[in-house]
Each structure stands twice: as structure tokens, then as C-alpha cells.
């Protein structure tokens, strides 16, 4: 707990945390403004209707969350990569190991700390998104019969739990990639490459890629939550059952965190 608390304290102070929060929140608000603008398109009534649906409560609760996960998933991946890469390139992992700290424990505590901060960022962006949706709906005169109902509240609790799982997996995968790369930039680059690469490969071999981490996340959350993977798997109709997808996402989470811990445990720390 001492190590986990220390990781949390330093991540709260880290500029990358604030930048990621601002980026995610800003992007979500921009999307909502764009959706509000699209809802006023008279030339394209179908698009206008879809946009109005996003700003209509109670469905706006789950649709906004889907948007946050789609954008936040990739940012969580790059955030995890940035945290791991910095530990290697700044030499702070080296200092901790030279003090007798367990490499695996240090790695897992760092992943846990980054995950908690990523969850917080997701919730902040989601809250901002909901406020933005309410404000935009008011601005474009979209009225909702009810703000939230029991059905939506129940769905939302389940979706939030699955979102937390997806974000944890994204952070772990980013962390594992940058642990191998031993660099923030290389880790972030490789993470983004994997994120989009998976979706592109999914167009050609959907039956294999549906088991891949981001496609499984998309299936777990009901589709369309990752930029490319969602589109690819939706196009091919190759998608895991949502409950099976939960198991697959948990497996990827454990695999990525375990891989990062084992890799760090076995590596020579030369930098």
C-alpha cells in the first residue's frame, strides 16, 4: 500500500496526467458541440435525428459514456505507456530496484496507480460530457421527458463497471508495450500503432481479431467504442458475446500486467 500510495501521489502531480485529462475532456466537449451542430442540419434529416438522439436523455447517459470510452481508451493506452517509459528513461525504476524494491511489485503498483488515475480521468470527462450534453440539448432546444429512469440507471452501473475494466486493460497494455520499448515515445507510438493496427487487420481476419484486446473491449461494451476495432468488427459481424468478451478483456488485462512484471523482473537495467 505504501508503494501504491506513493505512485498515486506522484501521478497526481505529473503534468502528463493533467494534459491527458484536459485532452480527453476537451475532445468529448468538442464532439458534443459537433453533435449539437449536426442536430441542426436540415439538409440531412437522418444525421440530424441521430445527433438529436445522442443529446436526448436518458439515452444520452450511455451514448456519452460510449464516446468517452472510445476516445479515453486510446488515451489510457498512451498514458500507461508514458508512465512505464518514463520509469525507464528517467532511471527512477533503477533507483527503486537498487534500494531492494521488488521489480514485480513496483511494476504492478505503478500499473494500479496509473489505472486509478485513468479511471478518475474517465469519470471527469464523462461528467463533463453529461454537463455538455445537457447544455447543448438546452441550446438546441432538445427536451427530454425524463433525465434518467431505472432501466438506464441499471444499464449505466453495468456499463461503468465494464468501462473500468476496459480502461484498466488499456493502461496495462500501454504499460507493457513501453516496458519492452523502455521509452515513452516508442511506447506511445507502438501503443497507438497496435490500437489502429488491430482494427485494420480485423478487416481481413475478423475471426481472429475478435479475440484481440480492443475488439473484445468493443464487444464487451456493446460495440463502436473503439475507433477502428468497433467499425471493423461491426462491418464483419464478427464479434464476441459481451459476457465472453468480459472474460477475454480480463485475460488481456492479467496477461499485459503479468507480462510487464515478468519482463521487468528479468531485464537488465542498464540506463
Amino acid at each position: 500500500m505504501r508503494l501504491f500510495g506513493s505512485h498515486l501521489r506522484r501521478l497526481v502531480r505529473r503534468p502528463a496526467t493533467l494534459v491527458t485529462y484536459l485532452l480527453l475532456t476537451g475532445l468529448i466537449l468538442l464532439i458534443i458541440v459537433a453533435v449539437a451542430a449536426a442536430s441542426q442540419q436540415v439538409a440531412d434529416p437522418q444525421s440530424s435525428l441521430a445527433a438529436r438522439l445522442i443529446l436526448t436523455f436518458p439515452s444520452a447517459w450511455t451514448l456519452t459514456l460510449a464516446m468517452v470510452v472510445a476516445v479515453g481508451g486510446m488515451l489510457a493506452l498512451t498514458y500507461g505507456a508514458a508512465i512505464a517509459g518514463a520509469e525507464w528513461s528517467w532511471g527512477t525504476l533503477k533507483t527503486a530496484v537498487a534500494r531492494g524494491e521488488s521489480r514485480a511489485r513496483y511494476t504492478l503498483a505503478a500499473i494500479a496507480g496509473a489505472t486509478v488515475l485513468a479511471w478518475a480521468g474517465t469519470l471527469i470527462a464523462y461528467a463533463a460530457g453529461i454537463v455538455g450534453a445537457l447544455a447543448s440539448a438546452a441550446a438546441v432546444h432538445i427536451t427530454s421527458a425524463t433525465l434518467i429512469d431505472a432501466q438506464t440507471a441499471g444499464d449505466l452501473a453495468g456499463q461503468l463497471a465494464r468501462t473500468a475494466l476496459a480502461i484498466a486493460m488499456d493502461v496495462s497494455i500501454g504499460y507493457a508495450i513501453a516496458t519492452v520499448a523502455r521509452s515513452q515515445l516508442a511506447g506511445i507510438g507502438a501503443g497507438i500503432g497496435l490500437y489502429f493496427g488491430e482494427g485494420i487487420i480485423g478487416i481481413f481476419v475478423p475471426q481472429i481479431v475478435k479475440w484481440a484486446p480492443f475488439a473484445a473491449t468493443s464487444a464487451m461494451l456493446g460495440g463502436g467504442t473503439t475507433a477502428v476495432a468497433g467499425a471493423a468488427s461491426a462491418a464483419s459481424s464478427a464479434r464476441l458475446d459481451p459476457d465472453l468478451a468480459v472474460v477475454v478483456v480480463v485475460a488481456w488485462l492479467v496477461l499485459a500486467a503479468g507480462f510487464a512484471a515478468v519482463w521487468t523482473e528479468r531485464a537488465d537495467i542498464n540506463g
Binding site: 528517467w90 533503477k94 533507483t95 527503486a96 530496484v97 537498487a98 534500494r99 531492494g100 524494491e101 537495467i269
Partner: protein, 315 residues
């Protein structure tokens, strides 16, 4: 089998990086409660040794004992009693000096409350402890690195070039601190290129070259044993003088070294015997125009490591 009175013992330590041999059977013995100067040219294997001693790198073969206990995979807890500063000090640039030490204190062995401020005082950094490390000068970062190494009140301190970036007052302060630690019964291993500094600081030195230990022992003893006396003689008297000196010191103990100043005979012997040599020459009817006695750690280092006249590259 643990060696008594030794803080560090390595036996046959070997490490390769691809085809590059970093350590080639290093046998090191660092006595407890001493300041040990660990010397070697660039690429000799000093930093690799320190990395192995702190568990950052695993040797290909050989064994290590730290503070009387075997040290290897799964025995990291012995490092709770070891403080280390290896290569450049490493910190989170966005945290202050104090916050960095607190973050570090959460890793490894337990650190008593109040110890962070104690070590900040010790390295004279308390006034700037609240500033972000990104704004620190090189010397301040070095001080903070030394503070970090002292955080767990170590029985064994491993310092890689600790005087890097320190101003003269800082170097004097560091020397006094390290001497005081050794006087308290702690062991300090200092790897350094500043040979004059090591000569003033260390009780014992180990010199490595190409991954092997080439000399180890107390500084005074090494200088006496490996010392030399340089005698300038007339060119036509070299043979007579050389034979006379070898009769006193033994065959092969005298070599000729010419320079622009004339002809020198270099006798390998305790510098305290310079007068004996002068007397021996006089007895042979040869009079030296100049006698320079005493090796320095630097001359010994250059001779043992083959670094002399290698230019900037070293060995």
C-alpha cells in the same frame, strides 16, 4: 562461505553484452569500515560491477556477497542496508527534491519519519528542498542523489563518481561526510576518475582494467610497493648506472625512459629508498643530476591499466 570483515566479496564475476566483455572474472574484496576507491579507465567494468552489486544487472557467472550474505536472484532484501548512486542521479523532474526523496522512501526498506529532512540537511539542500528537481543545477542533483543514497542509513554505500558537478566546497564536504561514515563503521565504495580525490579519500583501492582486477590494496602500501624513483643520468653513464641499480634492486627493476629533458632511469622501488639509490650510484662513480621520488596513484593507475598516452579514449 562468507568472508569475515568484508562488506563486498565478488568471486569470478563475469558479464558480457553481446560480444563485448564487460567483466572477465572479477575478484573483489572490500573490507568493512573503509573507504574503497574503485578505479578503472572508461569501459573497464566499474559501472557494470556497481549494477551487479545493486541487483540491476545479473552476472553471467560468479558470485557476490554483500554485508556477509550471499546476494543474487531472490536476495534483494540485503539492499535495504545498501545505499547507491549509480551513474547520473535519477529523479522525477516534476517533483521537488523533498517529494522525490519521499517517493523513494516508499520503495525498498523502511525509512524512519524525519530521515528525509536529516539527509537534506546533511547535503546542505534543505533550503531548496521544496523546488522542483527540473530547476536544479547538476551539483544540486548530485547532492540530492547522495541524499537518496543515504536515505536508509546504509551500512554499505556505493557511489559512482559522487563528486561529479560538485563545487570545491561540496567536494570537501563530501570527503568529510564519507570519512565520517567510514569512522562510524560503514563501508563506502567510491568509483571515480578523479584520482587525486581518491588518493586523499580512500583507505584501500582496487584498480580494474578490461573487466579484471589488476591491483587491490591499501593506498599507502600500493604506492610503496609499486612506487618508483626516477634518476637523470648522463647518456654515457646509463649502462653503469643501470647495472649498479639492478645490483641493489634486482634484475629487471630498472628501465630507461628518455624525454626531451635527457635520459632517465626509472627504478621500481619504494620511494623512501631514493637515498639508497643515490648512494648506490655514487658508489659506482655515477652522479645523478636529478632524482624524483614517489609514484602517485595516477602514475600507478596509468601504468597498470595501460591508459598512458592513450589520449582521450583510455583503455
Amino acid at each position: 562461505m562468507a568472508e569475515p570483515n568484508a562488506a563486498i566479496v565478488t568471486r569470478g564475476l563475469a558479464k558480457r553484452y553481446g560480444r563485448q566483455v564487460a567483466l572477465d572474472g572479477l575478484d573483489l574484496r572490500v573490507p568493512t569500515a573503509t573507504v574503497y576507491g574503485f578505479l578503472g579507465p572508461n569501459g573497464a567494468g566499474k559501472t557494470t560491477t556497481l549494477r551487479i552489486l545493486t541487483g540491476l544487472v545479473r552476472p553471467d557467472s560468479g558470485s557476490v556477497e554483500l554485508l556477509g550474505r550471499p546476494f543474487g536472484r531472490g536476495e534483494r532484501r540485503v539492499l535495504f542496508r545498501v545505499g547507491a548512486l549509480i551513474e547520473a542521479p535519477s529523479f522525477y523532474p516534476f517533483l521537488s527534491g523533498r517529494e522525490n526523496l519521499r517517493a523513494l522512501a516508499a520503495a525498498g526498506g523502511p525509512v524512519p519519519r524525519g530521515r528525509v529532512d536529516e539527509v537534506l540537511d546533511l547535503v546542505s539542500l534543505r533550503d531548496r528542498a521544496g523546488d522542483r528537481v527540473s530547476g536544479y543545477s547538476m551539483g544540486m542533483r548530485q547532492r540530492l542523489g547522495i541524499a537518496a543514497a543515504l536515505l536508509n542509513d546504509p551500512a554499505l554505500l556505493l557511489l559512482d563518481e559522487p563528486a561529479n558537478g560538485l563545487d570545491p566546497a561540496g567536494i570537501v564536504g563530501l570527503r568529510e561526510t564519507l570519512r565520517a561514515l567510514a569512522a562510524q563503521g560503514r563501508t563506502v565504495l567510491v568509483s571515480s576518475h578523479i584520482l587525486s580525490e581518491v588518493e586523499q579519500l580512500a583507505d584501500v583501492v582496487g584498480i580494474i582494467a578490461r573487466g579484471r582486477l589488476v591491483r587491490e590494496g591499501p593506498v599507502a602500501g600500493l604506492l610503496a610497493r609499486e612506487g618508483e624513483v626516477r634518476l637523470r643520468v648522463a647518456p654515457d653513464e646509463v649502462a653503469t648506472a643501470g647495472a649498479a641499480l639492478e645490483r641493489l634492486l634486482g634484475a629487471g627493476s630498472v628501465r630507461r625512459a628518455d624525454d626531451r629533458g635527457g635520459v632517465w632511469l626509472v627504478a621500481r622501488c619504494d620511494p623512501a629508498r631514493a637515498a639508497d639509490l643515490n648512494r648506490q650510484l655514487a658508489g659506482a662513480g655515477v652522479f645523478a643530476s636529478r632524482i624524483e621520488a614517489g609514484a602517485t596513484l595516477e602514475s600507478l593507475f596509468l601504468e597498470l591499466t595501460g591508459s598512458a598516452r592513450d589520449g582521450l579514449g583510455g583503455a
